[in-house]
Symmetry: D2
Subunit: 345 residues, 4 copies
C-alpha cells in the first residue's frame, strides 16, 4: 500500500533520534528551561536577525493555537479566521472552549481577503458592545488547501491589521512547505516582521512532534509560560521539544524536508495536470487535490492510502500528501497508477 | 418624536406596578423560592396542561440563553443557530464565553431549515472527534426578522432533532407576538411538546424585565438552579420576577399586549404595502422593515425614532417596532408621515 | 412572625416606586445609556469629588463580582479573598466558572490581614509559573460577619497591594452599613482612592435590586460594557437600575437606610450584651450573631424568622439581620423575647 | 554534581528508544488509533483482568488532570482535593481554567481523610445551590509527600464516595512507586475497582513522557476523545505515547523502574534515620524529605542537585528524589556526603 495519507504518518529525521539517544542519561533541567531548548531557540532566532523574539515550544498544532489565542485575547475579544481555517473546524471547538468566538469569513483558495476583514470589523463596530470585538486575525500558511500567501498578500493583511488595530497570527503547521514553495518570495525573518505571533510546525515536517511558537510583538511576550503551564502545554521533559528543533534547524533539515515534500508533490500534480485530471485546487505545496470518478477512486484506493476530501455529485475530491520521507519510488508508483486510472469512467 | 425604536422602551403594564406597590413591605423569602414566584409558575403551568414542566425566571434574554445553553451542553457539544439568531450575533459572544461553539447556518427569512441541520450534523459526524458535536438546535420565535414558525415547520424541526438526537430550544423573547400572529396555529402547550426547553419573554411584552424559562425535557431539569446561581442569574429578591409574570398571565395580559403590538404593526405594514414601499421582509409580528430612499429616511428620521437595519446601495432598510403600549394616535401619525414621504426620491 | 432573617426580604424605599410609576410611559433609551442612569451616575460621582470614576449598574452581587473579576484578570491570574468572603463560598463557584482561582486566606473577624497577603504572594512567586499569579485582593466591607474595616486597615491593605502590584476590590453589598457604622472614619471618596474598583450595594439597602460598580483605576475602565453584555449583565431596560440609585442617593436615603438598620441592630446587640448572651462575633453593622442554647433556639424560632449560622457543640450561632425597613416595634418585640429566653437552658 | 532533584530529569528506558528507532519509517495511523496504542492499551488491560476499562494516553500530568476533570464534571460541580494535591497548587489553576472549583481540605501526611470529605460534603449541602456541588474526590498515589495510601484507606475512601455519590479519581503520576512500596498491599486491578478513573504515570517512571488514563466507570467513558482533542491533548503522532507504555509494560519495566527508585530511596532514608537527621515526613517511595541546618544545606548543595521544599525557622526541608536510572554509586556518594555533613551545625 502506497502511503499518501498525510505528512505526520512516520517518525522523524535521523538527527533527532540520534540526539535523543545521545543525551538519554544526561541530567537535564525540566519544563523547557534546559540547554537544548535554549540552543533550539537560538537556532530559530538566527533565522530572524532583525527582531528580538521570544520562542516557546508546544507539542502540537491544536494546543499551540489554543494557548496562543487564549494568551492574546481579552474575554470579549474574538479571532477572525477563514471558514477552512484549522481553528474554525478541526479542533473540536478548542478556541471556543477558552471563551472566544471564531468569526469565520469565506475563504479564497484557503486564504483570508483583507477587504473582508475590514468589512467584518466595521460590521462589528456598528453593533459596538453587543457583538464581540474582533482583535486577532488568524491565517494558516501554507493553507489547509496547500496554497501559499504571497508577499503582497501578507503585506496587505499587515496593513489592514495596522489600520484596524488587530493582531496577526500565522499558523505555521506547514510553514516549511510554504517557505519552500515556488510562490514564496519571503523568509521567516519577513514573516516575523508581518506577524505578531506565528509558529513553525515540526510535527508535519520531520519532527516527532512540536511547534515552535515565535512571539514578535513585545506586548504579547509577558507571562506566556503561565498560560503554557495552565493549558497543560509545558512538558516536564521539555528538552524533548528542544531536541526536535535542534534536529530540524541545525543543518537546515527543516528546509530540506519541506523541499523534498514539495518536490514530490509537484511531480504528482504536474502529472495530474498532464493527464487532465481536474484539480479541486491548484496546490503550491505538499497537499494535492485531484477530482476523480467513482471508478478511479475504487481503483486507486485499493493500492494507495489517501484521504477523501469532499464529494461532489458523481465526483470525489481526494487528497494526496507527500512528506519529508516520501520515497521517490512511491511517487513513481503513484504516477503509474494515475496513468492507468485515467480512462476509468 | 414618535417612538417606534423598539419594544423595550417603556416600563410595564399597570398590574405589575400595582402588585409591586401592594407587596412592598411584605416579608418574602429570597432567591425565587417565594409564593409570588410559585403563583407565577402555576399560571404558566396552566398554559401547559399536557406536560409536567419546570419553570425558572431570569432577568433577560442574553442571560437566559447563556444559562440554558451552558446547562444543557457538555464541553465538546455545540449549538446550531441561524446566522441571524440572537446567540449568533448580538450577545457579545456570551455562548462562546461558556465554552461552546455556535454553529451558524444561513437563515431563511430568519428561520432554520431542517434539511440544513441534517446536512450540518452529517458533516460534523464525518470528522468525528475532530469537530464539535452539534447537540442543540436554537431557534427564535418570533424570529429576529419578525417572522413566525408555522406548526408544520416546528414539527419538522422536532422530527429532525429526534432523528439526530438533538435538543430543540426556542428563544421566546417575542413569543407572545409569535403566538398572536395570524400565522400561528399552535399554543404554548404545543410548543412545550416540541421543544426541550423554551422561554416566554416578558421584557419585550409588557414586563419591567424577565424571561420565564420552561424546561420540558425531564433529563434537563436537574440542578438548573445551581447554574442559575453560578451564572449570576438568581436574584436575591427573586419575587420581582414572579410579580412580572403574575401581571402578564393572571388576566391574559401577555396575549393582549402582544396582540396590541401586532395589530399596530399590521396597520402600518398594510399601509406600507398599499403605498408601495418595498419591504425587506414581510413581517408577521411587531417588527416591520420598510426600505426607504435617503430622502425618505431624512424626512422620517426628523419626526420618528426608529432603527437603521441595513444599507443597500442607495436604499436604507429601517425597522419600526410597535409594542404593548404603542398609542393608536402614534400609529396614525406615522401613517400620515409615510403617506407624505412616499414621493420623496 | 418577626422578620430578622435578612436585609433583602422586602421591596424598596417609596422614592424608587414613585419614580418607576412616574416614568412608566416615557420612551427611554435602552441598555443603560439613558438619562436616568446618567443622573444616578452623577449622584454617585458627587460622592467622589476627588477622582474621575466610571460607574456601571448591575443587578446583584454575584453577577457584579463575577463580571468585575473576569474583567480585571488575565487567564492565569487569581483573586485572593478570605475564607468567609462571598466569592469564596456562596456564589456557587461563579469566579472559577470564569476560569480564575480564588485563593482563600483565613479570615480575622471576617477581614483579610495584609501580612497574610504578602506571605501568600511570596509563596506563589516561589513556584513562579507553576502556580497562579495572585493579582487581585477582594474584600467585603461590611464583612460577611458584620464587621467593618478601619481606615488604618484599609490603608495598610492599599500599601501591601501597592508593594506587590495587586489590585484592590471592595465588595460593597453592605457598604452603606459599613459607612454608617461607628467604626467607620472614612467616606466613599476615601474608598475610591484606596480601591481600584468597588461597588455600592443597593439590594441590601433599600433598592429593589442593583449594585453600582465604581471603577477608579483608569487602566481598568476600558471595554467594561463588553463584559457586562457578554456576561448577561446588561439589562434592556437599564434605566430600572438607574432609578434605584437616584432613589437611594438623591436625598441621602442610602445613608439614612443604612443608619436605620445599624441603629436597630445596635439596640438588639446592646441588649444581648446586657443580658449576657455570648456573641459569636461583635458586629459593627446590621448583622448580629448571638449564641443560644437549644431551648432558647426553640423558643425564639417559634416567634422570629432568622437564620442558623453555625452549630458548636450544644450551642447554636444564630443571625439576626435588621434592614432599612425594620420597624421599631419589631425591635422591641425581639428584645422582649430575648429577655424572656435568657434563662432557658 | 550528584542529581537527586527529581524523577523526570533523564530520558527513558532503552526499550522505548529502540522501539522508536525500529518503527521510525513505518506508515502509522494518526491520533492514537494505531496498532502500537492498541497494543499498549492491551498490556494495561492485562493488568486489570476483572474489569472492562477504557485506556487513553496523554502527554503529561497537568493535561491529564485537566482533561479528565473537565470530562467528568458539570459546570457547577467541584473537585475535592487535599491542600498538597497537585491540582490544588502546582498546575497554575488549570482546573479552575476549565470552570471548576478545587475545594481543598487539610492533608494528613499528603492524604485525604474520609471523614473530612463527608464533613465538607455536608457543609456544601447546607448551602445547597449557593455553593458548588462537590462531585469528585481527587487523590494522588503516591502522594506529593511520597506517602502511599493503604488498602484500608482506599476502601474507606471508596465507601465515603459511594455513600455520597462521588466519583473517585487517582492521580498516578507516581503510581508505580506507590505499587512497589512496602506499604502497598494491592494491585492495579484493585485500584481499578476502587477508582472511577485513574492514570498510570510514565513521565516520572522511565518514559519520555505520557500518562495512561484508565476509565473504569462505564458512565464516564463516552466521548472522552472529544475532550482529548478539544483540550489539545490528542497528538497527531499518537503512537509515540503507545510506544512508551509498550516499553514500560511489555517486560514489567514499569514495576522494575519503580522498585529501583524506591530501593535507592530507602537506602538513603534509612541512612538519614540512622544518622538522626530529622525527617519532615517519612516516605514510602522515591521522594525523601530530610530537614537540615543552614550549614548542612550549604555543604550538600555544593555537591548535590536537589530541591528546597520548605523553610522553618533555621532549618531547611530539602527533597531528594531517586528515579528509574539513579546509579548505585550516586546513592553511595550521597550517603557519604550525608555522613560527613551530620555534625555541621
Amino acid at each position: 500500500m502506497l502511503f499518501f495519507r498525510n505528512d505526520y504518518g512516520q517518525g522523524c529525521i535521523e538527527e533527532i533520534l540520534s540526539l535523543l539517544k545521545e543525551i538519554n542519561y544526561e541530567n537535564i533541567t525540566g519544563y523547557g528551561l534546559d540547554p537544548y531548548c535554549n540552543k533550539a531557540k537560538q537556532l530559530i532566532k538566527n533565522q530572524i536577525p532583525d527582531l528580538d523574539v521570544d520562542v516557546h515550544f508546544l507539542a502540537g498544532g491544536t494546543i499551540a493555537n489554543q494557548t496562543i489565542i487564549k494568551h492574546i485575547l481579552k474575554p470579549y475579544e474574538a479571532v477572525i479566521a477563514c471558514d477552512t481555517g484549522h481553528v474554525s473546524t478541526h479542533e473540536t471547538g478548542s478556541i471556543e472552549a477558552t471563551g472566544h468566538k471564531v468569526i469565520t469569513l469565506e475563504n479564497n483558495n484557503g486564504k483570508l481577503i483583507p477587504e473582508m476583514i475590514k468589512q467584518c470589523f466595521d460590521a462589528h463596530m456598528l453593533s459596538y458592545e453587543h457583538m464581540v470585538y474582533p482583535k486577532l486575525v488568524y491565517i494558516s500558511n501554507a493553507t489547509e488547501f496547500g496554497t501559499v500567501y504571497t508577499k503582497e498578500e501578507l503585506m496587505k493583511l499587515r496593513d489592514v491589521c495596522d489600520e484596524l488595530g488587530l493582531y496577526l497570527m500565522m499558523d505555521g503547521a506547514r510553514l516549511g512547505q510554504a517557505l519552500m514553495s515556488s510562490v514564496c518570495d519571503y523568509t521567516i525573518n519577513d514573516i516575523a516582521k508581518w506577524c505578531d505571533v506565528f509558529y513553525i510546525g515540526g510535527t508535519k515536517n520531520g519532527a516527532l512532534f512540536g511547534e515552535a511558537c515565535v512571539i514578535t510583538n513585545p506586548n504579547l511576550k509577558s507571562h506566556f509560560r503561565f498560560n503554557l503551564k495552565q493549558n497543560g502545554a509545558m512538558l516536564a521533559k521539555g528538552w524533548l521539544l528542544g531536541v526536535q528543533f535542534i534536529g530540524l534547524f541545525e543543518n537546515e533539515h527543516y528546509f530540506k524536508c519541506a523541499k523534498h515534500a514539495n518536490d514530490c508533490s509537484k511531480m504528482i500534480q504536474d502529472e495530474l495536470i498532464r493527464l487532465k485530471y481536474p484539480l479541486y485546487m491548484k496546490s503550491d505545496t505538499n497537499q494535492i487535490f485531484p477530482v476523480v470518478t467513482k471508478e478511479q477512486f475504487n481503483y486507486l484506493s485499493s493500492e494507495v492510502d489517501f484521504e477523501i476530501w469532499d464529494k461532489r455529485n458523481d465526483m470525489i475530491v481526494i487528497r494526496f500528501v507527500t512528506s519529508w520521507c516520501t520515497k521517490q519510488e512511491d511517487v513513481e508508483s503513484l504516477i503509474q497508477l494515475l496513468q492507468k486510472a485515467v480512462d476509468l469512467k
